[in-house]
Each structure stands twice: as structure tokens, then as C-alpha cells.
Assembly symmetry: C2
Homo-oligomer: 360 residues x 2
């Protein structure tokens, strides 16, 4: 089969990590008889430089016409880059919000895995993480405070800013379904996180999630308040299987979860919607300070490409092959600088990509 | 001097921890020549049982007429208690929101301290916490999503819930001032946390905080996005001095911060406003499962009483004496069960209170 992949390399280390992921896709394609047809698109700072805005309608349209999107990272150094002199809706990150909404990608999945081989990098003590942990944060991605009405007005000489947090039943139901579907393929536990003791939107969230859970009698559903969840991620991350939550809480908790693993350079993410078209990107940022130095860890992007194979193209075996190759390369002792440890072999971005390809 | 202290023991372990804090206040009063006149008030579940609502207007009025409020904890077991069958605005926690707003307590201060003697309980690895850390989260407490308009409506048969996040300049300015004032007495660093890449309220927040910072040229101000802050608290808590943030972010981050210390039973909190009247309570909850068993750690409440001496009554020496007694008791090897460690002496709630009194 031939798959059309929109490639958004983006800014900073984006181009070099995406290059390695393409290499891996081509290798797996060659082995299993698929071809990937890449269309390179601009988004973020590079698009601002080229077109004056972070994501043009034409680029969005081109993304819509592809089978999936592979993204590196967008954005620069806030303190240094001219991009951040622009109004907020013209900055690099606005491109990300526009493409999520434009492609209807309402379900963001971020695995938080403590890789056996990298447990030394975990900030938590060993008695907490012994045996490892492996959970996902399922974050609603196109609703809530991110896409509600907002305005800043002056009243009697006083500036006043308002953002709106809205969810309707349908928005909650569709993301809850994703949460339970994921749980069914995992350890059958959903922890739904909200602030139901304060927010109306959270109370509706809790009610609808409970309704949806009736269709998944095998899955154990628990509710947790967001402040408690922020504590539990540090106290006992092993308790989680699927954390299901709304957009802003998911932003905070998924970042906390990725730091808890200690190896954010390893963590992939997928943004999914109603069709097979998904967007796949590493959980980490564009790291402008190390861009172009062959230092970046391409593994998160490579594992995101594996998620693309699995979720957009239903290529399970192929996805497994990529994931196995990543595990093997770690087992064989190769490390980029961000995950380097005593007695291991340090390699650059390109060599890491090559080593993974060799193992497919 | 004579000070009028409204005492809200509350639910669960509330009564027994507040009793120890009163014991300590009386001891320090005796030593330094002050008297504390207590007025016992009901709030939370016990008020629901007595009056059908978590905080009556009469009780609020009585709190207003006192010089400060000492609070234990409110709330019960969500799964088991009848209190949670009530509509949200009638549940125990609603009393807390009503008293915060009613007394105009817009500044919540929660210290996150890694006590030398308790570093074993910290979930983070030693190389991260070596040398300890000591910062405060300064959380805005009467604005934002907590007190914005909310509604749940049905539109074409679809339920839709909305909460509103509003801040005006004045609300931001007054809490920012508290943040900088605290920093001036500490290490002169304020980290203001927001989500300015998405929210209008955060952009106004950032602007106003920056303006306020001009009056504190000695204080170093940095801005941090909330998702990044959730990571940094785990990666490197030592970097912080004062974290300044809005209500919901503060709820999440202060709880994360307290868990990062590993000894939530030790953490106090103060809610302050425009007058000297403040509300002081432990950071932890009502722990209904261990209530009445002489197991609860009273130290967080005792340290909250010390904050009361300092912030409401300007009794610096007296506050120092309480804090020193707590340090001494830890040094002498006494521990309640939640912070118990090998080779230490385990004591109950009452004995811990006595031991601290002896050291004043
Ligand atoms: C860049 C920013 C707008 C974005 C978000 O908040 O969603 C990022 O933090 C993320 O989590 O992908
Ligand atoms: C009980 C709840 C409403 C409260 C809050 O969210 O403010 C609590 O979590 C706190 O932090 O004091």
C-alpha cells in the first residue's frame, strides 16, 4: 500500500528528528511492502518566516488531504525570537492549536512509560517505581478553555480578561469512548480526572463518563480530583492505566507524567479524531538551543511514527517492529546525550536513527 | 494582649489536630503573656448535620468578628458519606469556598519545605533534593474559575456546561503584591505561572505582574507556563522561591508541591486578605479513615497556628518559638505514624502536641 504522509518538520530540532523518523518509516515500509509518500509542509516559526502566519489555510488543506501527519516540533526561544513579538494568535504555537481544531483531532494520547533500561533517569526513588510503570494520558484536545470564547475589555478604566470553559455531552462522550477503548486493549482501568467539587463542566464530565462506562463493564472506572491526581502521579504512578481528562488538566498532567518518567526524549504522542487521519509528534518541544547539532534524541519521534503505523494505518506488525527495534537499541547500550549513562555508548541523532533501522 | 480566635474544628481528624494546635497556642501565650479566646464554630459536614448547610451566614458573621480563624479540615468520604448526596453548593467543601470569599481571603500561601529530618520520605531521588528545598506557592484564592459564572443548559437535547475564568487588573495586582512582599522576606525570586500562550486571563496576569515587579527592583521575576511548572516541580524543586499563580493552577501546583516534599502532614497554609484577619489550616485533608484514633499528625495545624501568630498578630518571636519547638521534636526523634522511620520513636497525636509544648 501507498500512504500519504504530511510531514511538518517545524522549528528547532524538528527537521533532524523528523528526518530519522522518515528513515525508520522507509525501512519498515521496505521490509513489509509499503511506500510512504511524503509531503513537506510548513508550520510554526518557519511558516511565520515564509508566509507571515504559523499555519496557512492552504497548508491545513494539504494536511487534510493526507492520510496522516508527522510533526517534529514548533516554536523558538520566547526570550530571543521575533516570533514572540507577534500577537498570540500569530505565534508559532497557534499553528498547533489551529491544526488540532482544523483536523478535528480531539483525542490526544500520551504514553508515560518508565523504560526498564532508563530507570536511572527517573526522578522518583526506586521503591516507588520498582517494576516500572506504563500508563497513558488521554486528553481532550479541541474543547475547554483552549477553544472557548475569550476577551479582554476595559471597564471603568480597569482591564478585565475572560476565558470560557465549555464542554457539551457529545464532546465528553467521544473522548470518553477513546479512553475506554484504550483501556480495553490495556489493563482495563480508567481514571477520570476532573474538578467536580468546583466546576459545572467537571460535573457534566463525570456524569457522561459514567454513562459511557456502562458500555464497558469490564473496565474499572474511578474518578479523581485534578489536585489529587497531580499528587498521585508523584506518589504512586504505578496505580494508573488510562488517565482520562479535559484539555487544560490534560496539558498539565501529561507534562507532569512525562517528567515523572525521567526520559521525555523517549515519549511519543498521537492526536486522533473521528477518522483515521491522525497527527503524531514527540511529547517534547523544539529545543532550539541544541538544534542542528546532531544531539537531539529522535526516539520520541520514531515512536510517534510507530503510533502512526498502528492508529492511522492499522499496521500492527510494523508498529511492533519499530518499537522492538527501539527496545533493542537501548538494550544494546546506545544512548543519545539526554539519556546517557555510565558504561553506555553515546551516539548522535543520525546514528541513533541508523541503529534503529538496522534492527528492523 | 487578648486575641479572639474563631476555631473551626471541622470533620474527620479536624477536632483532634485543632485541639493540639490550641494547646500549643495556649503554651506560647502563657510564656509570652498573651491570651487566646476561642470561639468554636461549625463548618463542613458537621454544619450540614447541625444546620443543613456547610456554612451558615451567622457562622460566617462570627468568623468576621474574630481576629483570625483556625481551621482543622472539612469533608468526608465521598463514596460513603451522605453529605455527597447533596447538590454541590451544599456539600462540606462549599463551606470552605464561602468562607474564603466571605472573609475576602484572596491570598493563599502554602510553604513546601523539605524538612532535613524527613528527607527520607521525599519521593524524589537524593541527587535532586540534596541540601533541601524551601519555597512557597502563593495562590490567588477568590477569583478565576472558582468564582466565575457557571451554568449547565440543555440545547437541542444536548447538555452543555460552562465555567468562566475571569480576572481583572486589581485582583491580579493585589495578589502579585503579596507574592513580591513574600519574596522580599525570602530569597527575592518570584516565578509567575500562567498559560499565556493560550489564555487571555493569563496574558493580563503576566502584564500586571510585570508592572507590579517594577516596585520591587530587588526581586527577580520569571514567567513560567503551567505545564512546564508541573514538570519543574518534579525535576528541580530547588529552583523555586515564590511561585505566584492564579486559583486553579495554584490548586494543582500547590498539591503537587506538597507531595514532592513527601511529608504533607507537616505542611501549613495561610489564607490572607486586605486586613489582618486570616484563615489558617493544614494543607492536608480531613482523613476520615483515621479520625478519632490518635494517629493524625498535628504538626501541619500547629505550624499553621504559628503562621497565625506571625501574619495575623505580628507575634514574630512567638511564631519562631513554635517553629523551633517543631524542629526540636523532630530532631529528638519523635514521629507520628505518617512520617515514621526506622530508629525513631512513634507517638500519637496527643503526645506529639505535648512534646511540642514541652519544647516551647
Ligand atoms: C504549545 C501549547 C499551546 C500546547 C498546549 O498547551 O496544548 C503544548 O503545551 C502541548 O501540550 O502540546
Ligand atoms: C476542597 C476544594 C474546594 C479546595 C480547592 O480546590 O480550593 C481544596 O482542594 C484546597 O486546595 O483547599
Amino acid at each position: 500500500m501507498n500512504y500519504k504522509v504530511a510531514v511538518i518538520a517545524g522549528d528547532g530540532i524538528g527537521p533532524e528528528i523528523v528526518r530519522e523518523a522518515r528513515k525508520v518509516l522507509d525501512k519498515v515500509g521496505g521490509k513489509f511492502g509499503h511506500t510512504f509518500e511524503y509531503k513537506e509542509l510548513l508550520m510554526g516559526g518557519c511558516s511565520i518566516d515564509a508566509y507571515g502566519e504559523p499555519l496557512t489555510d492552504e497548508t491545513l488543506q494539504a494536511a487534510k488531504e493526507s492520510d496522516s501527519v508527522l510533526l517534529g516540533a514548533v516554536g523558538g526561544n520566547v526570550g530571543q525570537s521575533n516570533w514572540y513579538q507577534l500577537p498570540p494568535d500569530k505565534r508559532p504555537e497557534a499553528g498547533l492549536l489551529k491544526i488540532r481544531k482544523g483536523l478535528g483531532l480531539y483525542a490526544n494520547v500520551r504514553p508515560a512509560i518508565l523504560f526498564d533500561e532508563l530507570s536511572g533517569a527517573c526522578p522518583l526513588k526506586e521503591d516507588i517505581t520498582e517494576g516500572g510503570f506504563d500508563f497513558v494520558v488521554m486528553r481532550e484536545l479541541t474543547g475547554g478553555l483552549y477553544f472557548g470564547e475569550r476577551k479582554t475589555v476595559e471597564e471603568n478604566g480597569v482591564l478585565k480578561a475572560t476565558d470560557t470553559l465549555t464542554y457539551d455531552e457529545n464532546e465528553i462522550r467521544r473522548i470518553a469512548k477513546w479512553g475506554f477503548e484504550f483501556a480495553m486493549k490495556r489493563n482495563k482501568k480508567v481514571c477520570s480526572v476532573d474538578k467536580a467539587n468546583v466546576l459545572d463542566s467537571s460535573r457534566l464530565w463525570r456524569k457522561v463518563v459514567k454513562e459511557v462506562s456502562k458500555d464497558y463493564p469490564e473496565v474499572e472506572l474511578t474518578d479523581m480530583l485534578v489536585d489529587n491526581c497531580a499528587m498521585q502521579l508523584v506518589r504512586d504512578p504505578k496505580q494508573f492505566d488510562v488517565i482520562l481528562t479535559e484539555n487544560m488538566f490534560g496539558d498539565i498532567l501529561s507534562d507532569e507524567a512525562s517528567m515523572v518518567t525521567g526520559s521525555i526524549g523517549m515519549l511519543s504522542s498521537a492526536s486522533l479524531g473521528a477518522t483515521k487521519l491522525g497527527l503524531y509528534e514527540p511529547s517534547h518541544g523544539s529545543a532550539p538551543d541544541i538544534a542542528g547539532q546532531d544531539k537531539a534524541n529522535p526516539i520520541a519521534t520514531i515512536l510517534s511514527a510507530a503510533m502512526m503505523l498502528r492508529y492511522s494505518f492499522d499496521l500492527e506488525k510494523e508498529a511492533d517492529a519499530v518499537e522492538a527495534a527501539v527496545k533493542k537499541v537501548l538494550k544494546d547500550g546506545y544512548r543519545t546525550v539526554d539519556i546517557m549513562d555510565e558504561g553506555k555508548t553515546q551516539v548522535g541523532t543520525i546514528e541513533m536513527g541508523d541503529l534503529i533501522c538496522e534492527r528492523i
